[in-house]
């Protein structure tokens, strides 16, 4: 019987190990990053079995590196990279939410400033209208008329 630990399948020849990684659990960037970290220790082949899983085949470069050790080291790397990726994603989302809130606040501020100016203009116009009606000495003339 072929050896299997969790998601790690050992090849019959005992030369490589294959990891089945759920796409819903691990982002592709994390798998790439973990592969990059392990590339000095193992030959790595990335693939996918269907729409649900990535497949990572690891073949140790050194003779003294055990298959299980390589598989477990890759899994630890993958967890750390996935967590970092998740943290980055959350940070990006938070920044985007804050930027949106600032933008909305600035628009509201602008609108309120415009409204204040409109109200001031309306008050001035009203004052002007009243001022033009009042002519206690009777000396006002219409525009264009000879005095």
């Amino acid at each position: 019987m072929l050896k299997k630990i969790m998601n790690m399948d050992f090849s019959p020849e005992g030369t490589s190990i294959t990891l089945t990684l759920s796409k819903s659990l691990y982002p592709k960037e994390a798998i790439n990053a973990a592969s990059g970290s392990m590339s000095a220790k193992a030959k790595i082949n990335l693939g996918e079995d269907n729409k649900e899983n990535y497949i990572v085949k690891l073949e140790p470069k050194g003779r003294n590196l055990g298959l299980e050790a390589i598989g477990r080291e890759f899994s630890n790397e993958l967890i750390n990279k996935s967590f970092s990726r998740e943290a980055e994603k959350n940070e990006e989302q938070e920044s985007s939410i804050v930027a949106d809130a600032i933008k909305k606040y600035q628009i509201a501020l602008k609108k309120s400033s415009i409204n204040r100016n409109i109200s001031r203009i309306q008050t001035n116009l009203e004052e002007l209208r009243h001022a033009s009606i009042e002519d206690p000495l009777g000396i006002s003339t219409l525009w264009g008329e000879n005095p």
Binding site: I5, M6, S22, S24, L25, S75, E86
Partner: protein, 82 residues
């Protein structure tokens, strides 16, 4: 499978988590925090079940493995309450 399964030959322990109850991100954080002292494998067994296998980097007794499993459960619960 039962919530905790100890593998005497492999000297590791596997924990089972129900996903609607446990949040994936908390399990990922707990796994990351435990990865300093343990070899951790996180595997999606089914849509609603995640398995986490822990193997101490330093060899421990079987009794210790069970204690470690409960410690991990408690740690994950602690993260959920934050």
């Amino acid at each position: 499978m039962s919530p905790i399964e100890t593998d005497i030959n492999d000297k590791s322990v596997t924990l089972s988590f129900n996903i609607p109850i446990y949040d994936q991100k908390h399990l990922l954080q707990a796994s990351k925090d435990f990865s300093e002292n343990f070899w951790v494998i996180m595997h999606q067994e089914t849509e609603n079940q995640i398995l986490i296998n822990l193997k101490p980097k330093e060899e421990n007794s079987i009794k210790d493995l069970n204690e470690i499993a409960y410690e991990f459960y408690n740690y994950a619960l602690g993260l959920m309450q934050q």
